[in-house]
Symmetry: C2
Subunit: 317 residues, 2 copies
């Protein structure tokens, strides 16, 4: 193959990770820089270039690279722009794919991180061979990537697949988006921490979590406590799973997927979260789909998944 590699780049609010990926989904090499410290996007791209070109040169230079795939918050696949991203240091509309492509002299494509994860799962992971599935990323926020007939759904404007902002509790928790009761306010890492605080503050139940200052509790603390058999921590995962399962039963009538694939930190809770999800989804599912829709975890190595997902975009360039 003349161009045997692609670059995958995962841009988060704090860190940016990039790597060289081969056609089998091996991350050949990997590096990272800080995102948040760059208030000027051009200086950010210069710093990406300085690090990334070393990796590229090590595999034979830009002539060996088919393209660069970028997963970025508020990334628009159609335009290649990052638009109004609240968690990035640069504001407004940034023609990021164009800037990268010009800097490196290689084609570049961009989408949001959850869509990138869906492409990665379909290209190298648990959804290999699936034509219809929904990817749900349970991280700092809740993201989604919807695949129909083997293609990611981008919609009329390039932003389709924001299932983290479907209302799941009417007049529920305040969301960062300004609305109330979004799935993200319950099922993200910070949603889990909020649930913990609510239970600890409104009940007298004994819990290992009471050893931690209440405002410092993280979803990782809840996970650790649950592993140690803490009843409150298990109740938190049960509650979170129920809300996710109900939501899934409302997503299924839209695209009738073969599976819902879960990715991100919360997926580590394994059966503690999967069992209530499946139970609640099946209970709320329309008869037509009872027992028919799988809920599975991503099988991409977590440290590499975001880079792999973004890289998968570049094979289509």
């Amino acid at each position: 193959m003349e161009k045997p590699y692609v670059v995958g780049m995962d841009m988060g609010g704090t860190n940016t990770v990039f790597g060289i990926v081969d056609a089998r989904g091996n991350v050949v090499s990997k590096s990272a820089i800080k995102t948040g410290t760059h208030t000027d996007v051009n200086l950010y791209i210069n710093d990406v270039y300085t690090e990334l070109i070393k990796l590229i040169d090590a595999v034979g230079g830009v002539s060996k690279i088919k393209g660069i795939g970028v997963g970025a918050p508020n990334g628009n696949y159609y335009t290649g722009n990052i638009e109004l991203a609240p968690n990035l240091p640069w504001k407004g509309i940034i023609p990021f794919a164009k800037l990268m492509s010009e800097k490196f002299g290689i084609p570049a494509a961009l989408t949001n991180d959850a869509n990138a994860a869906a492409v990665g799962e379909m290209t190298y992971g648990a959804a290999l061979g699936m034509k219809n599935f929904i990817m749900i990323t349970l991280g700092t926020g809740v993201g989604s990537g919807i695949v129909i007939d083997g293609k990611v759904v981008y919609g009329h404007d390039g932003f389709a697949g924001e299932l983290g902002h479907v209302t799941v509790v009417k007049n529920g928790r305040k969301c960062g988006c300004g609305r109330l009761g979004c799935l993200e306010t319950y099922a993200s890492a910070s949603g889990v921490a909020r649930t913990a605080r609510e239970i600890l503050e409104t009940t007298k139940k004994d819990s290992l979590l009471r050893n931690i200052p209440i405002d410092d509790i993280t979803s990782k603390d809840v996970f650790d406590a649950a592993v140690d058999g803490d009843v409150v921590a298990k109740e938190i995962f049960q509650f979170t799973g129920e809300i996710l399962g109900e939501s899934f039963s409302n997503f299924v009538p839209f695209s009738a997927p073969e599976a819902i694939v879960l990715f991100g930190g919360l997926a580590k809770a394994g059966d503690m979260i999967l069992n209530p999800i499946i139970e609640s989804m099946e209970k709320n599912q329309l008869d037509l789909w009872k027992g028919k829709v799988k809920v599975i975890f991503s099988d991409l190595k977590e440290a590499d998944a975001a880079v792999l997902g973004a890289s998968a975009l570049a094979w289509e360039l």
Copy 2:
């Protein structure tokens, strides 16, 4: 054109309407038989044949017909089967497209009525030229057809697009599907009648609707009363529109459509239903989509729309 016509067939629980349609979307001729009186599907097809072959012969015989498109409850596009339709006289799984194709010696395709309506709207109607829209049919039930990148979404099993059964009120009204709070229990014709009964039974408000025995009130009565300025009737449309608008704001994050197209009896309520829909959708909409998603009415002639929609399927055969 060698085969200048298609057949469109709209199968309802009570009546079946079929017609000959040309490439411009003109219904050249039309006829109907009863559905519900046929307990044997083969006898039903015989009766369809007797009537339909007259229309076909009048345009030059089966050699002039490209195919037959059927819109049927619980119709599966992939298999051509009607599966477990609660409102049809024949039970189980019926290979309907195959039976029709064998009877007439012409290819036949089948989908559910709302998907057929979406294809019709895209081929001849308000969604002409649109690649991403959601069709919502507000009739006896609430159906939907989702179009992404110019194609109807059928999903993994052929049944995608059942948005009438998305939960809109937790532990809400009992639905025919056995679940609680489905959109259909509020926004269908019978949902509107239920809302009327609830308001009349739980308040003392003056209303023209009190002149009708409460169990006989239909959505048509509510419409007539609203046209006459009845405050309760207007309140009913306001409530129905608000629920629809909230639901739409939760559908948009899935596929980011250009428009939501409304079809069916309730659409006749015009601005009385459209204004609260838009107001409530915009209020609940994620900032990203505020002011960007149109809500419009179908512009297909109502008497012909179902036949046109079904016929549009047949051009792809």
